[in-house]
Symmetry: C3
Subunit: 309 residues, 3 copies
């Protein structure tokens, strides 16, 4: 990764976390830290469209909060499929061309892989990918990385233990790839075989020289973990209920785990959590997941500010 001049030009579209190099990430995190908690008028007079083909209220509200704090305004729909319903049959491209005339930036959530790229190809305004099915959700990966930096004061050299659904969950996979941009990082993948991380991710970490371990018990790696990144195992990924139960109960963060966790470490989770983190953990200052959610607003402020300024 270089810090070539091109890397510092304004962002246009935000489609993939892989479009960010170190220089862009550094810029973005500085901006996010400055904007965190701020209320200003940097986007006054500008309109953000939230175009959601599937509901994702959490993501939508976080983006809307970000835009409102920047003094901008919001319009949108959580029923964007109406544009391309069986009866009307409009293409995504036509919808984007039209919404481009209503708004200054489009936040797109879609159920199809590649939808954000297709949208960006025809949009007259910046497109931000808020999830394209099995594809990416780049602002989630950015806020995760930003959280590590804020909580630990550095990203270089951290050891992140990923837990939960590492096969199907896109958040852990995206974060692992972003971490590979930082020297000295190492990754542990803690999961039963049925949801252990895929060879594709491991091969990319190898290419980038990132050491990694695959284990089935958190006890094997917790001693020198800086971050435990827990994720939810999603029932809908499993055909076999027994496999789901196995995956779901394999790794749970509770008071016992917290006793084993180093004092300097943190626990993260992209939320929502169900029972993979016990409520008793919430009061521990190392429980960073609600601060992580709040960082989502700051990161989205920084992203909006970048594409609109």
């Amino acid at each position: 990764m270089t810090t070539a001049p091109a890397a510092r030009t304004a962002l246009t579209h935000v489609i993939s976390s892989e479009q960010f190099d170190r220089a862009r990430l550094d810029d973005l995190f500085v901006r996010a830290a400055e904007l965190d908690g701020a209320r200003n008028q940097r986007c006054a007079g500008q309109i953000m469209a939230t175009l959601f083909y599937e509901p994702s209220t959490r993501t939508r509200l976080s983006f809307e909060s970000a835009m409102l704090r920047l003094g901008g305004t919001v319009l949108g729909t959580e029923a964007a499929h109406a544009f391309s319903s069986a009866i009307k049959g409009e293409t995504l491209e036509d919808t984007i061309r039209m919404v481009s005339t209503y708004a200054d930036v489009i936040v797109l959530r879609h159920d199809q892989l590649g939808a954000a790229s297709r949208a960006a190809a025809v949009a007259a305004v910046p497109v931000i990918n808020a999830g394209d099915g099995p594809g990416e959700h780049p602002t989630q990966a950015l806020l995760d990385l930003f959280t590590i930096q804020r909580e630990l004061g550095r990203i270089d050299g951290v050891h992140v233990a990923f837990c939960g659904d590492l096969r199907y969950g896109r958040t852990a996979r995206s974060l692992a790839l972003l971490l590979a941009l930082y020297p000295g990082v190492c990754c542990s993948f803690v999961a039963p075989d049925v949801v252990q991380v895929g060879a594709d991710i491991l091969s990319r970490l190898d290419d980038r020289g990132v050491p990694h371990r695959e284990v089935s018990s958190l006890a094997d790696v917790i001693d020198d973990a800086d971050v435990v990144y827990q994720t939810r195992v999603q029932k809908e990924r499993f055909g076999d209920p027994a496999e789901f139960d196995l995956a779901r109960t394999a790794i749970r963060i509770d008071a016992d785990v917290m006793r084993a966790l180093p004092q300097r470490a943190i626990v993260m989770h992209p939320l929502p959590r169900v029972d993979e983190i016990a409520p008793e953990v919430d009061a521990d200052p190392r429980a960073a997941y609600f601060r992580q959610a709040a960082n989502g607003v700051a990161i989205r402020m920084a992203v909006l500010d970048s594409v609109l300024s």
Copy 2:
């Protein structure tokens, strides 16, 4: 009721109409009268989240209008159940913690009794209860009381005749309890037995020394009523259609009732009305129900201004 200093501190959460004493009510009504019709910037830069677990468009729009008139902004959802859907299983508490990072005040509508209290217990920002199932809807009670004061110039000593569904309808019950804070008030409850007011309310009025009468005909009490507070009988409360029909048709406000009603009196209704008030009544200056709806915006402006300033 005392006017102890504590009563005059800023509101934090608004959960129950019973948290208001005379001093708070007086303050709130002065503020509501000042804010009525105003457009200002008192909440500029602040964000209200409307978190509705069941649709209540009327209540939501009234709150949103209030916040926008104060120069604030709004985000929200009428499908908040998505946060705790079967698949995801997030608790209300976690949702509130998260939304606390997006907004400066949360207006919560929920279908479960006690939801607003649970939310307030974990929220980092003020929570306003916009209805918690069979529980309370305090801003409705406040706007009702405010309407009596504005329309009649006083609350002390008024005689309110409650009609309609006094058993299941929470608005009449909440208003009766608030009226008990004012000297000289008396209450008539006009309903067939099947929807007559419950012994719990009567016992509390007795405790507070409020005289009351239970009758089945409005004619028995109309001569010296200051307020006829009509309510809608909700079909969904009845298993037996015959009972519903009896309750629904027992008391209807029409031109004949208006002839019997004193000139100084008013007719109120929380809306929506169906046929329990005839359209012919609308043109009568004593028909206060649409002015009452408008007062809802003023009261909610005062409440938002209190919790956000």
Copy 3:
């Protein structure tokens, strides 16, 4: 049509495109051209309610964009039927009276003919008809006419070839009637018999002295067309699938049609389009349909500015 003084007073409600005479249209188009692309504070402190009894996200977002660009704010619902649901039974009139207390202008979409007029009769604020079932959608007709003026520099004397569903589609019919206000205009109606324009429209054009032709092939009239106004044939209008297929495939705008179309002419479409305009046409500068959609925001800004100032 006269330019009587009355014609120049402020608009109150916008219910029908036929309430506009030449003087009003001239004023409106001047204002729309001035406001196009502007961000100002002309409606600061004012609230627009979008009250949609059926979803029409495209129309709603266009109105919302217009209001936000004027510095105003927006509240609303796409589920307005909840107000008059079987359980609650509120009339449209009561809903409008209530929403009048929340907002400074109401944009109403309803599935029943005449709903906008009924609303205007009781509203305390201006009502803008955003479609009343088989009735009218006046801002669509206005933006179509405005597009012709902007694209061609004039409306007087233009020849518009209407294609597609001229029987059931209200956009082509409304535009034809508005064109009749301009001298020298002529209309061609290009459709198979099953969706050819109705005798009611032709008779009104005759009354106003507008020459017209009804043909089944675009080739018959394309040579001196200034505008080809294509429309979508809606499946839901047809009982017989064979009739639908006939109507749907009869006239398609593609590269061959574009070769025959005069260089000065434009292609319009109210959107969404399905396959009645081939994607290959999009890159042609004469393809005006996305510019037409953008004009919708400018026209709605002008309409809102008129009714709110």
